[in-house]
């Protein structure tokens, strides 16, 4: 328990440090909090060979801002996504309830920024904690999702105005390069892992061949006085293949968010070019 609290403290400190560093650099920092929902497609072969689909709700908190290096070419993105879903198979007979917390921090370098086009690339740290519960299974009722990764991330963005409204399109691809994830073996029960303590082989090394995630989005922003509302369509794709079992989740979400800028630089044309969305 102490280790867990220490871990939470470190995460909270890192979260705060991101903002503090950006504040010290006196550069643009954008903070967005979005809430939405949509459609989920799920396959977890440990629980069922059938594909499940249904609805989800999602809360996303994100900070994106310049870091104090290289004349504003480095950006930091800190993101926390909390996702809860409720899915059924095509037959309608089964039911799963799932939840996932996904935190990532990315240091982006921006090699391209011209005519509204921006390209960001950089290393990313990922932490994922979640689970799925299948209401009618016997000794394989649930799947615990735990993963820590070092990933490469690329973020492409195009900002433009349409009917005098600022819009942006963006695509973000995160490719986990190296990490560790928890997953029971092909026919291993949680009774064996947690009750008998035979957990050997449950922690898998992950690399692009067995772990991938992809995020695409289309954003539309409306400025209301000093704040900005953002309407986003977002697609998230996760894939884990661990212990001869597969887990895939594809979500389509529509999200409405509140965007705030720490120094309220929206009216500053010079600063506006650094606005990431």
């Amino acid at each position: 328990m102490k280790k867990f609290l220490l871990f939470l403290l470190i995460i909270a400190n890192a979260w705060y440090a991101v903002g503090a560093q950006q504040l010290r650099s006196k550069r643009f920092v954008e903070s967005a909090l979005s809430l939405g929902g949509g459609y989920t497609h799920l396959l977890d072969t440990y629980l069922s060979p059938q594909r499940y689909s249904g609805g989800h709700v999602m809360l996303q908190s994100e900070r994106f801002g310049q870091l104090a290096y290289e004349n504003g070419q480095w950006y930091g993105q800190s993101r926390l996504v909390i996702h809860g879903d409720y899915t059924k198979p095509a037959s309608g007979s089964g039911l799963t309830i799932g939840g996932m917390g996904d935190y990532s921090y990315t240091c982006y370098y921006r090699p391209l920024h011209t005519n509204g086009w921006s390209l960001y690339m950089g290393p990313q740290g990922q932490l994922r904690i979640g689970g799925i519960y299948n209401l009618r299974n016997s000794n394989n009722p649930a799947q615990l999702k735990l993963g820590v990764n070092l990933a490469a991330s690329a973020l492409g963005k195009y900002s433009f105005s349409l009917w005098n409204t600022p819009m942006s399109v963006r695509l973000q691809a995160d490719m986990p390069l190296f990490g560790f994830a928890f997953g029971p073996d092909y026919g291993q029960s949680y009774y064996e892992i947690f009750y008998l303590g035979n957990a050997e082989g449950c922690v898998h090394m992950t690399a692009p061949h067995n772990n991938l995630s992809l995020r695409t989005g289309l954003g539309y922003e409306v400025q209301l006085r000093s704040c900005t509302m953002r309407l986003t369509w977002q697609e998230d794709l996760y894939h884990w293949r661990l212990g001869n079992q597969q887990y895939r989740m594809l979500t389509h979400s529509v999200m409405l968010g509140y965007v705030s800028n720490l120094y309220h630089v929206w009216r500053d044309d010079e600063a506006r070019q650094y606005i990431p969305y």
Binding site: A90, S138, G187, S189
Partner: protein
């Protein structure tokens, strides 16, 4: 505006390219149509890749799952009714001779109960009631009393009902002055393995090796992990120190079979009655395209000699209830245990 569309096309192409990389890295997951043929194929494939006793049962009685496929495939027709399909699939699963294998539909449950239905019951609630009386005590999943010859009697009808440490403390404390104890697990069809272990832990003063467990590591019939030992840890609370008889019959199944497997390794314990029903595979669940749920043995366990107990455990003292005793209201198995404990 043209640039906008160019970007969208680029975006889309990039996405497709990444998806292609993603999909190429995936292992193919078989998909089946929701037709009688599709559901048959799905069920056969689930058992073929996940059932844990295919090789063992091939050795025991010649089960050949590929032959089963050919034999039952001929009985499948896409025009057949749901009831007809259910019957054929149920018959196919019966080939596994496993009480842990079931097919659940809205109208019925396909099951294999031959492990007990073809044998003497060796248990009668009416006769048992003569021993328990009406003033027996109930501690969660335990019913207990003291027999006239100062033998404690505990009946455990199921391991699905919680057995807490407090329940066991009270029960053993109440029976502490008895000279021996009968733990009756006849007609106990199983339940939670941890409850069985909680009870067994009250009968040992030291950590004891009781068996082994392993699991499948892949879809092949022989893809198994290294067997891991299972130890019974001694309880740090009130423990029984006198002789014990565990009463069994063919309906002592699943977690109860596991309980007997643990108890027979202990020095003061004698197993009395009939062979247990077996059921040593930890069951998992899966489902078919039409929504029917299937349960099957996924993780096998062995006894301390690395022998399967899937088809049951023989008692130390084999006794069956005789018709003569039954007519007199006497439980032959309880009486045998009382005699053994009185020595």
């Amino acid at each position: 505006m043209k640039n906008h569309f160019q970007f969208l096309i680029f975006n889309f192409q990039f996405f497709i390219a990444l998806c292609a990389v993603f999909l190429s890295s995936c292992t193919k997951v078989e998909t089946y149509e929701d037709t009688p043929t599709g559901n048959f194929e799905a069920l056969w494939h689930i058992i073929d890749t996940k059932y844990c006793f295919l090789d063992y049962k091939a050795e025991e009685y010649g089960l050949n799952w590929n032959t089963v496929y050919r034999r039952y495939k001929r009985k499948i027709d896409d025009g057949m009714s749901h009831a007809g399909l259910f019957e054929v699939l149920g018959e196919m699963l019966d080939e596994l001779r496993d009480g842990h294998v079931n097919l659940y539909a809205a109208h019925d449950v396909a099951r294999y109960w031959d492990f007990r239905e073809g044998y003497a019951a060796n248990f009668s609630e009416e006769i048992q009631a003569r021993y328990l009386g009406t003033d027996y005590k109930i501690a969660s999943g335990l019913r207990y009393t003291i027999l006239p010859d100062n033998i404690g009697y505990v009946y455990v009808p199921s391991f699905s009902n919680g057995i807490g440490e407090g329940n066991l403390d009270e029960c053993l404390h109440a029976l502490a002055l008895c000279r021996g104890l009968i733990v009756d697990v006849r007609d106990n069809g199983g339940g939670n393995l941890s409850y069985a272990e909680t009870l067994a832990a009250r009968f040992t003063n030291e950590r004891v090796l009781t068996g082994y467990i392993y699991h499948k590591t892949g879809p092949g019939h022989t893809d198994f992990s290294t067997p891991e030992p299972i130890y019974l840890e001694s309880s740090d609370r009130l423990r029984w120190q006198k002789p014990v008889c565990v009463l069994t019959n063919r309906s002592s199944y699943s977690a109860t079979n596991d309980f007997v497997k643990m108890m027979r390794t202990l020095p003061l314990v004698t197993i009395v009655g009939d062979r247990t029903g077996g059921g040593s595979g930890l069951p998992f669940s899966s489902e078919l395209p039409n929504g029917w749920s299937v349960r099957f043995s996924a993780c096998p366990s062995f006894d301390v000699d690395m022998q399967h107990t899937e088809f049951g455990i023989d008692p130390d003292v084999k006794v069956e209830m005789t018709d003569e005793d039954c007519a007199k209201g006497i439980d032959t198995i309880i009486e045998t245990a009382r005699t053994l404990l009185a020595r």
